[in-house]
Subunit: 256 residues, 2 copies
């Protein structure tokens, strides 16, 4: 899985689309290459039979994105559904005056762009290089409506995201800067672990500003708090990540 924020220098199949900050690159114009898909056990696709798979794959395309490239923008027509297969993307909402709140970092297996409204209610762009299966919304919805097992899987995914969103509301409403940082580090480590990315060092491919906008803090407070945790020997700051030195202490800070 890509977690270093470097450019895709040799796109797997086709060259990136003209505008490097939008659109991305269709890897397989004939549909997803689902057999070797590294997130089948995480995504909805593993609930389908081979026959169903064969049909489903025709519906979408795999698309690659450079770091910072846009998947879609708040208020644009919600014409596509995405299922992330590689990398990390950020979901965020902007206030008219430019204040930004990152409402989530998505990892492989996560769905993006599911909406009831005709427009997206947030923007998404790539943190690392990323790859997603992209489906035309109408076609995706029709297929889901005809495939209850997929609908159930989708509902589980949304229910899980709602649970995480409520957990984040507690963090944003009631926790101190230090608790927010600790909860962020522990939470991200656990999520990465679940998608199979297991390392002694926690990769932090997003910028300090991203972390700040996710935790409702400023970049200076994020930097100071990480420095303090490092000074206290709770973590070790390394390039593009941190290493946990006192995991139990971090988990206590993050408690609940």
């Amino acid at each position: 899985m890509l977690l270093q924020p470097k450019k895709i220098k040799n796109p797997p199949v086709a060259p990136m689309a003209g505008n490097a900050n939008f659109g991305g690159c269709i890897l397989d114009p004939a549909g997803c290459v689902c057999e070797g898909c590294n997130i089948r056990p995480l995504s909805m696709c593993n609930v389908l039979t081979s026959d169903e798979m064969r049909h489903f794959r025709e519906l979408g395309h795999s698309v690659a994105y450079n770091p910072k490239a846009t998947l879609f923008v708040q208020d644009d027509p919600a014409d596509h559904i995405f299922n992330l297969t590689e990398g990390m993307v950020r979901l965020y909402k902007l206030l008219p005056d430019g204040r930004r709140q990152i409402v989530g970092f998505a990892l492989p297996g996560d769905f993006l762009g599911l909406a009831l409204e005709p427009s997206y209610s947030f923007s998404v762009d790539a943190v690392t290089g990323a790859v997603a299966c992209r489906f035309p919304r109408k076609i995706f919805e029709e297929y889901v409506d005809r495939t209850p097992v997929l609908m159930k899987r989708l509902h589980q995914s949304t229910t899980n995201e709602l649970m995480m969103a409520r957990q984040q509301m507690v963090l944003l409403g009631r926790r101190t800067a230090e608790e927010r940082i600790a909860a962020f580090l522990v939470g991200l480590r656990n999520r990465l672990y679940r998608v199979g990315y297991r390392s002694a060092t926690l990769a932090l491919p997003m910028s300090r500003q991203d972390i700040a906008d996710y935790l409702g803090l400023t970049i200076e407070t994020v930097s100071r708090t990480l420095t303090k945790l490092a000074r206290d020997k709770v973590i070790l700051i390394v390039p593009n990540g941190v290493r946990f030195l006192m995991t139990d202490k971090l988990e206590t800070m993050a408690a609940q």
Copy 2:
């Protein structure tokens, strides 16, 4: 719809269960009285045929709750699913040291207690007197699995809640006290409007502490901010509510 936080003095059918702060009162032991249900157009029940309805009604019971009565508690076994039919309830999470974050106020039509885990991830208690249709979880899930149209409806409901939760994340992470109060008042008015409660005066049946715990503020800041809005003639504070005097100004403050 009940929106005044007064006790149910004459429970519609049966007397309240012994412990007034827990359990509530089963209104109709034979199942919901669905024909006259005031929220059928809001709830999932309106997607069912008469035959389906007849079967579905057998699955649950209507239960009444006094103000402050508990529907369920965080970490308890998630054995029931609720569909609120009357009144307002609060959903909240507690940190080990007692800090509280209210993650939502539910209104008629809302589902409560849908979970992937074996336990509830938050607590719910009544703000006003409230009535809910209560279903044993296993039975509810089996029925939903066999009824795709219900599953779809449920998924839409969860998707909508996720959208609201993300909106609240922006509020908690990036907005000032005044903006939070304005967004809360406008948002609640709009939600009440949608469930058919339309009044010149916005009812605020919850306490100032509840509002504070929903907006990530203290009770003093909520009080001061409401007083300031009243001094500026943007709202008029009335017993158990407020009246909008300058709706457009309030909507501008709440913007986005």
